[in-house]
């Protein structure tokens, strides 16, 4: 399996020292990803999904963040572990091998530079050429992502574009160096649904064109169902379940995933019953509870003997083929509560 994996993340831990204590934003995160594949990382705010992706990109300030584990890129030239590489090495990979787009395209684009200048900068950082080469490349990219009149609009500033067009500009900038990995952090959350549909379609087209691996970070299970090949569900900094997309929706193996899927209304079904809810709140990341972080909200913890759920942290284990879960419940117990 790992032979053709492009990205491998092993036991990634990210924590921030704060005045109130150590915030364990991500703990023990493991996953891998091949080119052309899309992995969705799903979770609520504070689940560690964005923090993890910034750690992969090397975008945390090393002086103020504790990061451990391994992030391995399998490049044509050989494998490279990023966390132990120098900052210069990682910076050189950013924007070339791995690129990222963000939730709010307005604040993510520099307000003082034209979109052409910003895309050209991304290209010139990793290619030899002059400014006019960069601008030419920017126009090509704008055209590729479907911005009308790219030759004219290349000189416009971000505030002169609509929200959807700005996200297209961000995508053009991220893809200008033909990266192998794209991390999309809530790329459509700030957009209207009709525009969201356009952007997701664009991302899918681009993925085919460039054979990229995509990590899609989102809280929207609808977007995941539409877009992802595999899903990684995170809760309180840990990945609690990982499965191919269909398995996750039709055979969820973690009580949290189960609860999430049951609590969302749908537009294609008229429901008159009450929504099922997950009671309580996500835990604070400073003083995580003993045992499973989800245990305080879990309706099935009584099924596990000896208070195991509140005393011992479950390990990520095989539930089925390619299907991992971090839960003390037995296979049969999960089947029966589903």
């Amino acid at each position: 399996m790992s032979a053709h994996n492009y990205l491998e993340v092993k036991k990634l831990n990210v924590s921030f020292p704060t005045e109130d204590g150590l915030v364990a934003a991500t703990s023990d995160l493991t996953f891998s990803l091949a080119r052309g594949e899309t992995l969705a990382i799903v979770g609520e705010s504070g689940s560690g999904k964005s923090v993890s992706s910034l750690a992969i990109m090397g975008l945390h300030n090393r002086a103020r963040t504790n990061i451990s584990g391994e992030v391995i890129l399998n490049l044509p030239t050989g494998s490279l572990e990023l966390l132990s590489s120098s900052e210069d090495t990682v910076r050189d990979l950013r924007g070339k091998e791995m690129a990222m787009i963000f939730q709010d395209p307005m604040s993510s684009l520099h307000p003082y530079f034209s979109v052409g200048a910003q895309i050209a900068e991304a290209w010139l950082l990793h290619n030899k050429g002059n400014k006019s080469d960069g601008l030419k490349r920017a126009i090509e990219m704008l055209e590729l992502v479907g911005i009308p009149l790219p030759v004219e609009r290349v000189h416009d500033f971000p505030h002169q574009f609509s929200g959807g067009m700005r996200q297209r500009v961000m995508i053009a900038m991220a893809l200008v160096n033909n990266p192998s990995l794209l991390i999309a952090d809530e790329p459509t959350t700030a957009l209207d649904v009709t525009v969201q549909a356009q952007i997701l379609k664009l991302l899918r087209d681009m993925q085919k064109e460039f054979n990229m691996a995509i990590i899609l970070i989102t809280h929207d299970l609808g977007v995941v169902a539409e877009f992802a090949d595999r899903v990684n569900v995170m809760y309180a900094g840990k990945n609690v379940e990982e499965a191919p997309v269909r398995d996750l929706y039709y055979k969820p193996a973690h009580p949290y995933t189960l609860g999430l899927l049951r609590s969302i209304p749908r537009v294609d079904q008229i429901d008159t019953h009450r929504l099922q809810t997950i009671p309580g709140q996500p835990p604070s990341l400073i003083n995580l509870p003993m045992g499973c972080a989800f245990a305080p909200r879990c309706p099935y913890k009584e099924l596990v003997p000896n208070n195991l759920c509140t005393t011992k942290n479950p390990e990520l284990s095989n539930f089925a083929d390619n299907h991992l879960t971090r839960c003390h419940l037995t296979h049969d117990q999960i089947e029966s509560v589903r």
Binding site: R94, S108, H110, Q160, M170
Partner: protein
């Protein structure tokens, strides 16, 4: 852009006209009479009314105002016959106290104030902005802490204390400027070194408090801008830390500082009263102070007030245009 500039020019002009009229209205209702004050000890009602006529005070405030505005463009003539004299354009009135055209008096005071303002401005911008950027870049290190102490001391020392301290314990104590030479004007064109040495200490005392404020402001602006999403985007593209700071962070971080700097500079051009007083510099500040407190010299007060207002309005205009040049969101609507 052209439309923006012309519109701003027009509104600046209107503001200036309104300000000058306001100045005349205010002084018209002040309870002292320049004609009476110019009269001296052996005063008769005839002399007072003659003075009033010669000073042009025997007409309504708006006529006085109109004459004043007209004088700026065509010059002004006072008195009749042998006693007639003319202040050529631009005329800002005549000071009977000093027996000189106000324009002449201003012309000798202005270079002093401009020298003081420019030097202090350059000094505090380099010191304040530079230190601010450095302490933001090396936040929470000893450099940052040292600059914090500077900010604390600088902002809590008002100019009349720092100026006096510098004068007494550095300049006079080490005889850097001879007390007799204090306040002597040297033209930067003919005696640049003397000009520089005579202004260095006034610059420093004036720049200290500004530099401290600007350090704090720059530091917080740079830190705030560094946490913007677009800075994260720059890093995600692979931009080096040095370029992140110089190209992506500084422009948006310093643009608001420019606004304040322009207005502070314009305020100084109106006269740095305290510093000029301490270092005996014959600039606009001292001129105004003397005219207002000792001589009740109305033509001078009116003119320095209007001049100070003009500097602020013009600086405002320049700052707006510069901001529009820096920030495309304002430029292109």
């Amino acid at each position: 852009m052209l439309k923006f500039v012309s519109r701003r020019l027009l509104s600046s002009l209107i503001i200036l006209i309104v300000i000058s009229a306001t100045v005349f209205i205010i002084f018209n209702y002040l309870p002292f009479d320049p004609a009476r004050l110019a009269c001296g000890k052996h005063c008769t009602p005839e002399i007072v009314s003659g003075n009033r006529h010669r000073l042009g005070l025997d007409v309504s405030w708006w006529m006085q105002w109109w004459e004043y505005l007209k004088g700026i463009f065509v010059g002004r003539t006072y008195g009749q016959g042998a006693a007639m004299f003319t202040c050529p354009a631009p005329a800002f009135g005549y000071s009977f106290n000093q027996h000189a055209c106000v324009s002449t008096i201003l012309a000798s005071a202005l270079p002093v104030t401009v020298s003081l303002a420019i030097g202090a401005f350059i000094m505090w911008m380099f010191l304040g902005v530079g230190l601010g950027v450095i302490s933001a870049r090396f936040r929470n290190t000893w450099i940052d802490r040292a600059s914090n102490i500077f900010v604390l001391v600088g902002t809590s020392l008002p100019t009349f204390i720092s100026g006096l301290l510098i004068l007494l314990f550095i300049v006079l104590k080490f005889n850097l400027i001879s007390p007799l030479d204090l306040g002597q004007w040297h033209s930067p064109l003919t005696a640049p070194w003397e000009w520089f040495t005579s202004f260095f200490w006034p610059w420093l005392s004036l720049a200290l408090i500004y530099a401290a404020t600007y350090t704090r402001f720059t530091r917080s602006n740079v830190i705030e801008t560094s946490s913007e999403d677009f800075i994260r985007t720059a890093r995600a593209k692979g931009v080096s830390e040095r370029k992140v700071l110089w190209k992506h962070t500084l422009r948006p971080a310093l643009a608001p500082i420019l606004t304040i700097a322009g207005l502070d500079f314009a305020g100084l051009l109106g006269g740095a009263i305290i510093t000029e007083q301490i270092f005996q510099l014959p600039g606009l500040g001292r001129l105004t102070l003397q005219a207002a407190l000792q001589d009740y010299d109305l033509p001078i007060i009116v003119s320095t007030t209007i001049l100070a207002a003009t500097f602020v309005v013009v600086a405002n205009l320049i700052v707006d245009l510069a901001y529009a040049f820096l920030d495309p969101r304002i430029r292109v609507k």
